[in-house]
Point group: C2
């Protein structure tokens, strides 16, 4: 049962003393700091850890984990605190390992278009650093997440349709195993057929197999030209048909985002913008001047055939930034409509042919409830979110969100989709892991967990703990 610790208070005290010997004042047990580390960015019940460690090197993480291993006390890796399915709560107590001081960019190989960073480096920090190189790191989950956290959650976001997710873009990880030992999951080569794919095993393992301390990722040449566009549709279906045709024609859109009418209502009020409050696609194109124009023209034609209107070009960088800033703040915009509410951004991902149906059925559900909830999505991948907003302590709210969320997930699964495209399982999606993968596949996941972490100290209760 969550909240129940498996270890004796004396064990904890002795562990904290040992950790303090190693870390000095980088081992913190104050209530405020523990509470800051009790949850991510959503409604899930907070579980403060017993202490928070702030390591500065892989070796130091190794010593922390070794001590926890000896004491059989849980370890909860903590990046930028932006996860949203309850990945961060210390549900069985333990030590949070906050990676924010491991924020060094270790090396950028410009010719190879890759870099290696400490896990606490955030994506904005990395792109700031890369500014003068002509390279950039494209994965953009909205929040300024850490690269370690993004790898652990198998994150993606708005431009995965062009550049892939963390699954495709992590080249190698340094990981502290549950026994405190250190591995590097791969070399720096772009591809390899040498043994089991440990990189991909740790990408998406949500801290349950080890602590990611360094991340090597692919970088991309900053495109010569970028351009964006906004186009309105009479229905979500028309917008999705436009997406299907665009992808099918091989047009390499960099972003293709659906925002429904209610999302734009929230955004206009929060970001002081004036977008038409209709079902809308926000698009971005990367390439040469010529290919960007060609891509945009082709998409404009497709959209127009699907009844799209108000095709609006966004060529100025400032206006483009404003548009994506507004898009990224949809979560906060929605919350601002319901002051005092806590948010829960759920996500599912379905084959794109099923996307229109999945969204339409979901919106039908929303019409039959007291909830109003924005629907936004990385529709080029078949991935979309519904933002539930709940009054804290209002059980009716929570129950209704959980019910609607359950219906959404079951619908996505029935359509061949997944219960989470990019937010992970954490504890929030635990009830659906077996429904998605079946008992035998989950059994294999659990066997892997058990053999790598036999004492179950790494972020216990999450991901495969079903």
């Amino acid at each position: 049962m969550f909240g129940k610790h498996q270890y004796h208070p004396a064990t904890l005290n002795s562990l904290v003393r040992s950790l303090r010997e190693q870390l000095g004042d980088r081992l913190v047990t104050t209530r405020a700091v523990r509470e800051q580390h009790a949850q991510g960015e959503s409604w899930h019940t907070p579980y403060p850890p017993d202490a928070v460690a702030f390591p500065v090197s892989t070796e130091e993480v190794g010593r922390i984990v070794s001590l926890c291993h000896e004491a059989k006390v849980p370890v909860i890796p903590f990046g930028a605190g932006t996860s949203i399915e309850g990945q961060l709560g210390a549900v069985y107590g333990g030590i949070a390992v906050d990676m924010s001081r491991m924020n060094k960019i270790l090396v950028v190989h410009e010719e190879d278009m890759d870099c290696r960073v400490q896990a606490g480096v955030t994506r904005k920090q990395l792109n700031e650093y890369l500014r003068d190189t002509g390279l950039f790191f494209p994965i953009d989950p909205g929040a300024d997440a850490s690269l370690g956290g993004m790898a652990a959650t198998r994150a993606s976001g708005t431009n995965a349709v062009r550049y892939g997710t963390m699954r495709e873009n992590v080249l190698s990880l340094t990981v502290v195993l549950p026994n405190g030992r250190i591995i590097k999951t791969a070399r720096r080569a772009r591809k390899s057929a040498a043994g089991y794919d440990l990189t991909r095993l740790f990408v998406g393992s949500e801290g349950t197999l080890g602590v990611i301390t360094e991340v090597a990722v692919r970088l991309y040449g900053m495109p010569e030209a970028m351009s964006a566009a906004i186009v309105n549709f009479p229905s979500v279906d028309a917008a999705v048909q436009t997406v299907i045709t665009t992808i099918r024609m091989g047009i390499p859109v960099a972003r293709i985002e659906l925002l429904d009418d209610y999302s734009l209502y929230a955004i206009n009020r929060y970001s002081n913008t004036h977008y038409p409050e209709k079902d809308t696609l926000f698009l971005e194109f990367h390439g040469t001047e010529q290919s960007v124009a060609e891509q945009a023209n082709t998409v404009a034609e497709i959209a127009s055939e699907e009844g799209g209107s108000g095709f609006h070009w966004v060529t100025k960088e400032e206006e483009r930034n404003q548009m994506w800033e507004a898009r990224h703040k949809t979560y906060y915009a929605a919350l601002a409509l319901k002051p005092g509410c806590k948010g829960w951004s759920t996500d599912v991902c379905v084959p794109i042919s099923a996307l229109a149906e999945c969204i339409a059925e979901t919106k039908k559900d929303l019409e039959g409830t007291f909830f109003k909830a924005p629907v936004i999505g990385h529709v080029g991948d078949g991935n979309f979110h519904v933002l539930w907003m709940m009054e804290p302590g209002n059980q009716a709210h929570i129950d209704e969100a959980v019910r609607l969320n359950g219906r959404l997930v079951e619908r996505a699964l029935a359509l061949g989709g997944t219960c989470t495209g990019e937010h992970g399982i954490g504890v929030g999606k635990l009830p659906y892991l077996r429904a998605e993968h079946g008992d035998e596949a989950v059994n294999i996941m659990q066997l892997i967990k058990q053999v790598i972490d036999p004492l179950n100290i790494m972020n216990p209760g999450k991901t495969v703990a079903v």
Copy 2:
């Protein structure tokens, strides 16, 4: 020790009887068929299996593996027989499971641009089937490999630089586990953050964790235009600098292949072509008419700055096919120069910044030996091959190839690369797995192997058996 069986002849006899009850004449024990299944396409010592099963369904594979599991007799999955690092030899005896009769294309989802096929379907068969849909499956390792085999080996080939490898393109697998039970590793959604990435665990596991019986892969829209080009260089270094600049500028080349002077010497004699026998790039561009022309012009400029000459456009489909056919036959072309020899196409992959050095040092090695060996490569990924040609039974040949190969691998590892970019470990690269990954990482691989296949019946002696 290879060749030593761990089970009693009576066990085998009883297993063969049980298998024959299930499969009838699709269980074959003739010497000729066993010898056909004793090795792949290279020099590695053949080890014929005790029998060859030809299942027609996943359930049948399940029954075969269950019976082998009960008898504790090895199972060796067999696709099209094109692997080249000794993945197929029954080194401890056992039953080869030949997937060639599982060659049904199960479903093509045109809107979602994906399909699901039985593991025995070959890439050419799939592309033939897709011809009228406007879609294609791009991964092209040269040989007409089966999709199951390609997934198992984490194969890639000439156009991975644009479309990725099997790692990026497999959406889901159906796998018969070593206990005979069946799992599906993922849903059909383009991306997912739901639990451990079992798909990627089985991709590249070379039959050591289970039998892949179905493969779902991404498809791509056939580009509106394709064009190719050939350009000669004064040195490998000049060619590689052209590659680096091309990739760095974000030009989405579909193929960028290096062929050294000796490769072209072999090709011209074998394929009756007249390519200048110089260090050369073969290139292909995919896109719209406009973007293809733009890409090709830009690369021509880059090449010219690096001293490239004789830039030759290949726009006719027929000429383009001839060129890639000639490229794919380099292995046979090389063998034809040394009648009676057996081949061994080794491969390493390094960061692209290290590619010129790695190739130059390798060619220096070749100058100091009696071997002449063509060097060809998927240089956009930093991946290249050297084709060793050995007289069967000539131990001096084998020793020298092994020595040169060892030096090549050590050089690649020292430069941050991998001992195999796409051919896999099999038995041929076993000596290098620890050097590449370190003891702790290999230990994790072996723990995973042990927990999924505790009886060690799945293709034992390969990949992680170090």
